[in-house]
Amino acid sequence: MTVKHAGLRLIDEKGLRHDGRRPDELRPVAMRVGVLSNADGSALFEIGKTKVLAAVYGPREPPQRHTMLPDRAVLRVRYHMAPFSTMDRKSPAPSRREIELSKVIREALEPVVIAELYPRTAIDVFVEVLQADGGTRTAGVTAASLALADAGIPMKGLVAGVAVGKVDGVIVLDVDELEDSAGEADLPIAAAPDIGLITLFQLNGVLSRQELEEAVEMGLSAIRRLVDMEKETLRSSVTVMPGE
C-alpha cells in the first residue's frame, strides 16, 4: 500500500526532483545478461533501486498440451514480486495486480517475438521483481527483452520500457515509488523503436492532450536510449550507466 504524501514538494525551486534528477533524467541503470545457469536466457535489469530479474525457457513443449497453438509458439509470461521486494512483505500468492501486469507485459512482448517459427511450443518468460522502487512493469519488459535475446529467440526488434509521470505539474521521466504515489499521473510505456511500435501503454491519472503528447515523446526518447544500451549489453554482456 502506498502512502499519499500530502503537501510534499516533489520539484524544488531549481526544477530538480527529490533525488536531484532533472525532469528528463533516468536513474542509474545497469543491465546484465546470462546471470542464471539453468535458464535458456536471463537478464538482470536495475534502474535506481528497482531490480528485476528475467529468465526465458523455450521454445519447449508446454506442460498443458491444450494451450499449444498449431501455427505459432504461445508466449507465457509471469510477473511476480519477491515477498521481500516491497516495504511491507508481499504475500507470495499472485495478486490481482500481478495477474494484470503479467498480461500487460505479455502483450508488450508479443509484437516483437517471431512466434510463427516455433509452432506447437511455448516460450516462457519469468519476471521476478527483487526490489520495487517504481517502474517495475516497464523494467520487467526491459529485462524480458534482454533475456529473450540472450535465449536466442528471434525478435523483430528489442523492447524497452520506462514510466513517465507528472509530479507537481511537471512531466518527468522514470518516476520512482515516491513520485508515483504522490504524483498526479503515471504513464508506463514500452516500445520497440526498430519497428516503430508502442507495445505497452497505460495511463493512471489525469493528463491534458498536450501533456500526454509530451509524456509519450519523453518516454520514447528514453526507450531509444535503453534499447541502445540493450544492444551494447548483448554485445558485451554487461553495461552500467551511472545515471545521466
Partner: protein
C-alpha cells in the same frame, strides 16, 4: 501466467476482407461509421435490493452493475476515506468462451481499468464516506456482471458502473451507544457524492483503421485495442492498450482524439438515464 490466447476462427479471412473493404469506405457492417458507438441503452434501479444498480446495453452486449454498501474499517493510510472496490465476473451464461471459476486475467484487467478510471480522477468523493474518521467508513462494492458478450466489455462495464454509482443511495443508519453502527438497508438515504462522471471509449485497431466500440466480430479481427477514459470536460483520466499487437505513436494520439469525440454519445445516454432514473 498469462498465455497467448487461442483465437477462435469465428471470422474467416474472407470475412475480414469484407470488413476491411467497408472500413475503407468509412462504413461498417451494422451501418455505423468508424467513430460512432452502437446504440446505448442504460437503465438504473434494476435491482431493488442493491443500494445502486444499472444495466448498460451496447448493441447486444449487456452488463449489469450492482453497488452494495456496508460499514467497515478504513485503510490505515487513508483513515478518513471510504473504500471503493470494483469486481468483475465473466459469468458463463454470457459467452461460450467464459468458464465458471475465479476471474481470469481479462476479468481482472477489466475491473482494474474501471477501478482506476474512477479512482484516479476522484469520481467518487471518498472523503464524504467517513462515518467516524479513522474508525468507521462506508465500503462501496461495485460488482460488474457480464450477461451477454458481443464485444467492448470495457465501455459497457464503465457505463453500468457509473450509472449504478449515480443511482446509489447510502443506507440510513443509527449509531448505538456502544458505538456500533446499525445499518437499515430498507431505508435509502443520501445519494453518493459523485464529483466527476467518467466514461471509457474503446478503439480497436484493425490493420490501419481505428474503429470505435468494436463488436465481438470486430474484436476477433482486431490487432489491438486502446481504452481511453474521459471525463465530461474531455480530460484524459486513464488509458490502457490491450491486445497482442503494438500501435504507433500516431495511432495512440489519434485514438485519444477520437475518444474525446465519441465520449459525447456515451455521456448523453448516461445523463439521460440518470435524469430519468
Amino acid at each position: 501466467m498469462s498465455t497467448t490466447p487461442y483465437k477462435l476462427p469465428i471470422v474467416p479471412m474472407i470475412k475480414k476482407q469484407s470488413y476491411l473493404s467497408l472500413y475503407r469506405k468509412g462504413a461498417r457492417i451494422d451501418g455505423r461509421d468508424l467513430e460512432t458507438p452502437r446504440n446505448v441503452r442504460i437503465e438504473t434501479g434494476v435491482i431493488e435490493k442493491a443500494e445502486g444498480s444499472a444495466i448498460a446495453r451496447l448493441g447486444n452486449t449487456q452488463v449489469i452493475a450492482g453497488v452494495k454498501i456496508d460499514v467497515g474499517s478504513p485503510f490505515r493510510d487513508t483513515p478518513d476515506q471510504g473504500v471503493l472496490t470494483v469486481h468483475a465476473e465473466f459469468v458463463p451464461l454470457a459467452s461460450p468462451l467464459f468458464e465458471p471459476g475465479p476471474p481470469d486475467e481479462n476479468a481482472v484487467e477489466l475491473a482494474r481499468v474501471v477501478d482506476r478510471s474512477l479512482r484516479e480522477v476522484g469520481a467518487v468523493d471518498l472523503s464524504s464516506l467517513a462515518i467516524r474518521p479513522g474508525e468507521k467508513v462506508w465500503m462501496l462494492w461495485v460488482d460488474l456482471y457480464i450477461l451477454d458478450h458481443d464485444g467492448n466489455l470495457f465501455d459497457a462495464s464503465m457505463l453500468a458502473a457509473m450509472a449504478a454509482l449515480l443511482d446509489a443511495r447510502l443506507p440510513e443508519y443509527e449509531e448505538l451507544e456502544s458505538g456500533e453502527i446499525m445499518v437499515d438497508k430498507s431505508r435509502k438515504g443520501e445519494p453518493l457524492k459523485i464529483d466527476h462522471r467518467v466514461v471509457t471509449v474503446t478503439i480497436a485497431k484493425v490493420d490501419e483503421y481505428l474503429i470505435v466500440d468494436p463488436t465481438l466480430d470486430e474484436e476477433t479481427i482486431a490487432d489491438a485495442k486502446i481504452v481511453v477514459a474521459v471525463d465530461e470536460e474531455k480530460r484524459i483520466v486513464g488509458a490502457q492498450k490491450t491486445g497482442g499487437s503494438g500501435m504507433t505513436r500516431e495511432e495512440i494520439l489519434k485514438a485519444v482524439d477520437i475518444a474525446g469525440k465519441a465520449s459525447e454519445v456515451y455521456f448523453k445516454a448516461l445523463n439521460e438515464a440518470i435524469s430519468k432514473g
